[in-house]
Structures are given as C-alpha cells and as structure tokens.
Symmetry: C2
Subunit: 95 residues, 2 copies
C-alpha cells in the first residue's frame, strides 16, 4: 500500500448510463482541461478532487454506473505514449 | 521530465473505429487481466509493452484511431477511488 501522500493529478474514466453521461461529462469538464472520449485527466487539488467526487456521486446511479478516479502525485508519476491521430501532442514513438 | 526509469504497470485506453476495435480489444486482453470498457490496466514488463505497442500499431489506422498508453513504475504509483457498481472491488469511500 502507498503511504499517505498528496495526490495532485488524476485520471477519471467512467461507464455511465446515457441518461446521465452528459451530466458526468460536464462535471468533469469543469475540473479538467484535457479529455479523450470518457477519459479526463489533469492537475487537480485535493480539495477539488473532493468536490468532483461529491458532484459525481450526486448524479450517478451507484447500482448501474461506474466511475474510476486514478490519483497520482503529479504528472511526473507517469509517462505517456500515444499511437495514432493525437500522437503529435505527446511523446513521439520510435519503434 | 521524469528520469529514465523502468515502467512495469500500464493503463491503456483507446478510441478506435468500430471496424478495428475488436482486434485492439483482443490484443489488450492478451496482456492485461483487468479492464473496464476500453480501459485496460495491469502489470506489464517493458518487453511486453514493446510487443503490445507493435501489435496495436499493425492494426490501427493512425490517421483515424487513437491509443494512449500510460506507463507507471508500479501499482503503488497511483491510488484508485471508485464510485458505483464496481466500488466494492476497490478502495471504499467515506465522503
């Protein structure tokens, strides 16, 4: 188990019924600049993470919908490789 | 920029045309045990990551499809919170 640390970066992805998916999308869009389909990501303060979670919790049906929040210490905690259309926005690949 | 380190854990998500999406799904399933919709995750060796990437690259149309591989040092590099139907499989939340 990781020690208690501050998480200041997050990925959020979800599988939410179409009746509610736009609302969840709009909530996430308030907190994150960047998204691909239903995967949001970006810097977020611990305080905003609590707000985000509370807003999502109000909207979703917990028996049917699913939301995952992956918390990281910073954007240096991971490295991204992309393939395809958005590849120029990120690390380029030499295979 | 992070230093050169070994990444042994990955998240993979994609936005791939439906003509090819099943093939990408099947490739990812060979390398990862766990997935939700089009988000795969799990421990993966650097060698397998190279193989995964090469297999995906053969299938996708890079002008139309998009695949993101988020590499982490280990599963201790992040912490997950889930809301909704699969919440019991992960860290429970007290809000």
């Amino acid at each position: 188990m990781p020690k208690e640390v501050n998480y200041n970066y997050a990925f959020v992805f979800y599988d939410v019924n179409e009746k509610r998916v736009n609302k969840v999308f709009k909530i996430c869009k308030k907190y994150f600049k960047h998204h691909q389909k239903s995967v949001f990501r970006g810097n977020i303060t611990p305080a905003n993470l609590i707000k985000l979670r509370a807003e999502i919790k109000k909207i979703i049906d917990e028996r049917e919908d699913f939301v995952s929040i992956i918390k990281l210490m910073s954007e240096n905690s991971f490295r991204e490789e992309t393939l395809g259309v958005n590849a120029n926005n990120s690390e380029s690949l030499i295979i």
